[in-house]
């Protein structure tokens, strides 16, 4: 069961290898961020060098699957044929606490008409897709009531 109707472009690891570890981890139900092994800085999205110290010595580190809503938007107008019958849906920008301000994009699960609170705690939900050519996992978010 996916949040959005099927038919959108499917994510694939970049051919240059930059983000392969992220997509592999997501399929295993793990959330990772890129981290510099030299200075310890976290960064997202992935890049070949550390923005803080220019080191090329980077890794992908597993982090707890929790964050806070930094911003959000409720989309109404479909800009892709796959979404023509979708109706409104919510995209959230989630800040990962204590990780140098790194943010991730996903959908907010639940009622698409729900009221969204900036700052609300959320937890990651791994949405696994089996496609004809590639399997992939999207990282979605739901409000964390606990």
């Amino acid at each position: 069961m996916s949040y959005l109707n099927p038919g959108l472009p499917q994510p694939a690891p970049a051919r240059d290898g930059l983000d392969e570890a992220y997509w592999k981890a997501a399929q295993e139900g793990k959330l990772v961020l890129q981290r510099c092994k030299d200075c310890g800085a976290y960064q997202w999205g992935p890049e070949w060098t550390c923005h803080r110290c220019c080191s090329e010595n980077l890794t992908f580190e597993e982090i707890p699957p929790y964050g806070r809503i930094y911003s959000y938007e409720r989309v109404w107008h479909p800009v892709h044929p796959a979404l023509s019958e979708q109706g409104p849906y919510i995209i959230v920008l989630v800040e990962i606490p204590d990780r140098d301000g790194a943010r991730m994009v996903g959908n907010l699960l639940g009622d698409p008409q729900q009221e969204v609170q900036i700052g609300a705690p959320v937890r990651a939900v791994f949405e696994h897709h089996e496609a004809e050519q590639i399997n992939y996992t999207l990282v979605q978010w739901e409000v964390d009531a606990s």
Partner: protein, 392 residues
Amino acid sequence: MERTVRGKVAVVGVGETPYYKRGQAPDPEFKLALKAIIAACKDAQISPKSVDGFASFSNDRSDPSRLANALGCDDLRFSNMQWGGGGGGGSGAVANAAAAIATGMAECVVVFRALAQGQFGRFGQGPRSNVISGSGAFTVPYGLMSPAQSFAMKVTRFMHDHGVNQEALQAISLASYHHAQNNPRAVMHGRPLSEEKYNESRWIVEPFHLFDCCQENDGAAAMVLVPAERAKDFPHKPTYILSAVSGSHYRAGASVHNTPDYATSTFKTTVPRLYDMAKLGPDEVNVAQIYENFTGGVLMSVVEHNFCEPDGCNEFFTKENLTAPGGKLPINTSGGNLAECYMHGLGLNIEAVRQLRGESSNQVPDPDVSLVASGPMVTPVSSSIYGSEATL
């Protein structure tokens, strides 16, 4: 020696094709570019053969060598493209052209933009590929793929941080549509907008209604720039470039919405350089053209050009304050990208010049200083300030 373009370059010709809804231009994009350049040269009363440079932005497809060939230009000296930022390059292309002239690399440079979305595809649609990789892989599968969707998230955060009401966005849209009713070039001429019509229009993505979004158009626009000492050899009242800058802040280009300073139009670091070069401040600006990809970008641009405090938006953004001739800060006096034409913002630079000439369809009384902000929320962005002879 002071390094500046202030007062060294003049705009002596402006022109455009008729503006069309996307897909309705009778000509292909390259021919539109030629027509706009010929119109700008005619306005300056020069032969296109004497143009020796071209500057554009956003990967314009009309190659300067082909233009120079088609126009029979005698001596091509400057062939320039502002890299990145889409419409954020509008004033950047002016800056590049001005720099070429001020440093003696060229004598007569055309700044232009041609765009036929009917011929080459719409800006407002998502990708149609089956697979996506790179930074888009982290957004597109979640349904985040259009410009409106990319920018609404910034605007939502800004409005949250500063308690801005929807009416502020509405006022920006009403001002553009109001001005377009006096401008026969405007695609929305004869199609006025009321508060009710705005409020009843469908959401594209909250907080943007339909009327918060720019149009998708076909057409072309061009400006002719020459050294300031030649400005009085041309038929129109001289208009001088006082400043033109571009850029963006620390890690503005971080992918997946990770720029540290997020809820910004990207002008915070460029605006001090803009006013420093112009040797004036926001209080001396008489009229402003503020790029509307979406009204929320105008909101933040006006704040970041220091016309209004971020916490004062609800009071500042009223239709009365934003409309010519008597508003506190008349903006987008041609109708702008919302209601004149989305010529990727180059039309805003032309309107800034027309204001100083006294030729706007929504003329501000005797302006001396005219400002343009190009392409909010992208990276790089750019701004320009034009002045009358009195400002030199």
